[in-house]
């Protein structure tokens, strides 16, 4: 056994796993080729375009209100009101009065002229809406009182308040107290006044810790008590309407919330079937003159792969890559998408969205596929291996 162990030790200690190129010349039939393609130097054909797609913004963490650039933003809020039994009894006995009803909102974002004032009206909503099902296309069907039910608008850096009609609030409370009636509470609709030059974003109710807008109701039972009840928004959403920006030759646009997406397609047919993509870098150049950003934003673009570029159908909505902005450049790795084009033999291009596509209003102007300056056109650099 000692002899066996000795020989195995010698044999194993002599093993070496550090290959060299000796013998590679015998393997020519197996040779791999590593190649690089650059849309800039190799003149890959490319096309790009942009379009507006209305989407519901109920999942956003920001409520937008105002007018700026090419957008008008309005907001729907509904409060979750629950009452103590004693208050219900008092309401049913008409024993209490609503003294005041104040809505409090927390501004977190500004788009447009930050020094401009924010004027708006508040309207009682008379029709049902849901955050997930209501969008800009639903707006014409929204029923609301034309009368502005708000007064006493106050706006500070950290809080904005306004009072709403005590009569309306009293009716909401009574509807809740008397369950024999359907509730008339469908919330309020905040509409910017024409001529407003900015959009303000307020905290929205989210599934996280943000409570969003609050409603403070002061109730008085004459001679007995005066209480302030606070309720928070149970659902809210913004509705952003507007048009595509006036086109500037050589630009394509990306904007959240409205929302504007871009599509881009590169002709990668020169890459052989079964090629393996080692790296694919996509670079965009920002047109800083026509780009508009808000007080805070995510300087990132999202990239999706399309399965049908005509209908903007995504091949896989869960697979999202990013282009990170730095200076006037957005750049990111899209290797999985180019590999998929090659594997499937179906290159329908890419869809580009703003990172904050349901909360921000940033208008990113990107040099497009027909930009006069060739070096500013979208650039795709691919390294691939083929056998």
């Amino acid at each position: 056994m000692l002899i066996i162990a000795g020989i195995m030790t010698i044999a194993l200690s002599s093993c070496k796993d550090n290959p060299t190129s000796v013998g590679a010349q015998l393997l020519k039939n197996d040779y791999l080729n590593v190649k690089q393609v650059d849309s800039y130097t190799d003149s890959l054909h490319q096309t790009s375009s942009y379009y507006k797609k209305v989407i519901p913004l109920g999942a956003s963490g920001t409520l937008l209100l105002g007018n700026a650039a090419n957008v008008q933003a309005s907001t729907l809020i509904m409060f979750g009101i629950s009452l103590a039994d004693s208050v219900i009894t008092d309401l049913n006995n008409n024993a209490v009065n609503v003294v005041s009803s104040t809505v409090e909102m927390t501004p977190v974002y500004t788009f447009g002229d930050s020094t401009a004032s924010l004027d708006y009206s508040v309207h009682k909503v008379n029709s049902v809406w849901t955050p997930s099902g209501f969008d800009a296309d639903s707006l014409p069907g929204l029923a609301y009182d034309q009368t502005d039910m708000s007064t006493n608008h106050q706006f500070a850096d950290t809080v904005a308040t306004f009072d709403i009609s005590n009569t309306t609030v009293t009716n909401w409370l009574k509807d809740i107290a008397d369950t024999t009636y359907y509730s008339s509470d469908h919330g309020i609709y905040l509409l910017p006044t024409s001529g407003v030059k900015k959009v303000v974003g307020f905290e929205a109710v989210t599934s996280g810790t943000t409570l969003g807008t609050s409603l403070h109701i002061v109730l008085n039972k004459p001679g007995v008590y005066t209480d302030t009840l606070a309720f928070y928004a149970s659902q809210d959403l913004s509705v952003v309407t507007g048009n595509l920006p006036n086109p500037v030759r050589g630009d394509m646009y990306i904007q959240g919330s409205l929302s504007i997406n871009s599509k881009i397609w590169f002709d990668v047919s020169s890459i052989p079937k079964n090629a393996l993509i080692n790296n694919a870098e996509l670079t965009f150049t920002r047109d800083s003159l026509n780009t508009i950003t808000g007080s805070s934003y995510t300087n990132t673009l999202l990239v999706y792969i399309l399965s049908d570029s005509t209908n903007e159908t995504l091949a896989d909505s869960t697979q999202i890559l990013t282009l990170t902005g730095s200076g006037n450049i957005f750049q990111g790795n899209i290797t999985p998408f180019v590999q998929r084009w090659i594997d499937k033999g179906n290159d329908q291009g890419l869809l580009i969205k703003a990172a904050n596509f349901i909360g921000g209003l940033e208008l990113f102007a990107i040099k497009n596929s027909s930009a006069a300056n060739f070096s500013q056109r979208p650039r795709l650099q691919i390294t691939y291996t083929v056998r």
């Binding site: 002899i3 093993c15 000796v22 010349q25 015998l26 197996d30 791999l32 393996l276 291996t385």
Partner: protein
């Protein structure tokens, strides 16, 4: 449990394990790789073949007719180490590999009739290479990249057979063989720039199918020489026939950028046709101590087909070998050193490889010994040094050393007790 039995079981378990690292002979990319003519130190020591040898203490895998001489149950296994010095016109390299070579087990059923049964599993061919090319992107800041080509695997042979003594002491043997294995070829690209991901192409063949080995060894015909010095003169012939092997093929590519990673480029089942191997040899004993062997094995690799297509770079192979063995006279009380069996061999092989219109030939010398552990049990060692190929015509010259360490264990099993 008997210690020897325990050892056999352990050896069976590990006999197919290939140890880490590898030799790197790119020649083995062609056909089914390097053909293994011998698995044991005994065969390697006498030049690999020994077609006409029939010895009671040795299981020949090249000619099952030799099992007629077995008088005890035998188990043989071996471990080998291969060191390979490679060189081409501009570079050289050394690498090595250790691996187990399989095992053979045989036992006599009827010694007077020469009936023995044997089985085992041994390598038939081996593929082993790994080379790397270093490249730089021209005019790019992407740095270097490497292309690695790897081949691993080979064909194994599982056999079971028997031997029988025909009239006039003509020995006959045959085995039913099952050939199987995996032949893997990979090509990998790697990059120094970490933005580039490594990708890989893989080709896998999994052949499987039946074959047979048939052998004859003549009786001692030394009387024709009318010499007292020459004895035990025998001729032997064996034929290895392999039916077309059904081969599963799989071509894949791997990229971590895919969610599934691997994509199948193609798959299917086809046939691999390995040509018949014809082997012949003679052996005789001089002065009752010195055994000489002369052998030849030929295989028409130019007829090898894969997917019904002939493969370029293959030609007919021919192995010629000469062997010598010295067996000391067994005397009571002799020291173990005086019981050592010594072997030596020479071989020339016109290998099946023909690259760039140049045939790849191999010359080798070998030597070895069997060290007695006890009656019928030996430790066998053989060393072979050889040269294969040339650096001309963009080819590779290989200087190799093979060390084969084997165990040959014998014991009386299965024999009926005489009352």
């Amino acid at each position: 449990m008997n210690l020897k039995l325990k050892f056999i079981i352990i050896a069976l378990f590990i006999s197919q394990i290939s140890l880490f690292s590898q030799t790197s002979s790119s020649y083995s990319r062609y056909g089914i790789g390097d053909v293994a003519y011998s698995y044991s130190a005994n065969e390697l020591g006498i030049g690999q073949l020994g077609i006409s040898l029939a010895e009671p203490d040795f299981i020949s895998i090249n000619n099952p007719a030799s099992w007629v001489k077995l008088t005890s149950t035998r188990f043989e296994t071996s471990l080998s180490y291969s060191g390979l010095f490679l060189s081409d016109m501009s570079n050289s390299d050394f690498n090595g590999k250790a691996q187990f070579n399989g095992f053979a087990f045989a036992f006599p059923v009827s010694v007077p009739n020469g009936i023995s049964v044997g089985f085992g599993i041994i390598p038939y061919s081996k593929i082993n290479y790994q080379v790397i090319q270093y490249n730089t992107f021209p005019g790019s800041t992407d740095g270097q990249y490497t292309l690695t080509y790897k081949g691993q695997g080979g064909l194994s042979k599982l056999f079971i057979g028997t031997s029988y003594n025909l009239p006039f002491n003509l020995s006959l043997g045959a085995t039913l063989d099952y050939y199987f294995g995996t032949l893997n070829y990979a090509a990998i690209s790697n990059f120094t720039n970490t933005n580039n991901i490594s990708t890989q192409y893989n080709t896998t063949y999994e052949p499987g199918g039946l074959g047979t080995t048939f052998g004859i060894i003549t009786p001692d015909i030394s009387t024709i020489f009318n010499s007292k010095s020459i004895s035990d003169f025998r001729l032997g012939i064996s034929v290895d026939y392999i039916k077309s092997l059904s081969t599963d093929t799989l071509y894949t590519s791997y990229s971590p950028s895919r969610s599934a990673g691997t994509d199948t480029i193609g798959s299917g089942t086809t046939t691999m046709k390995i040509p018949v191997r014809l082997s012949a040899g003679l052996s005789f004993i001089l002065n009752k101590r010195y055994l000489f062997t002369l052998d030849a094995a030929s295989q028409a690799w130019s007829n090898y087909t894969f997917n019904n297509t002939k493969v370029s770079n293959l030609r007919n192979s021919l192995l010629l070998s000469a062997g010598f063995e010295f067996r000391p006279k067994l005397e009571l009380g002799a020291s173990v050193w005086k019981q050592i069996i010594w072997r030596a061999g020479l071989s020339y092989e016109q290998t099946q490889y023909e690259i760039n219109n140049v045939g790849i030939n191999q010359y080798a010398v070998s030597g070895g010994f069997s060290f007695p552990l006890s009656y019928a049990n030996t430790i066998d060692l053989a060393v072979q040094y050889g040269i294969r190929g040339t650096t001309n015509s963009s080819l590779v010259k290989e200087n190799f050393v093979k060390i084969n360490f084997g165990l040959s264990l014998g014991e009386l099993w299965f024999l009926r007790r005489n009352n």
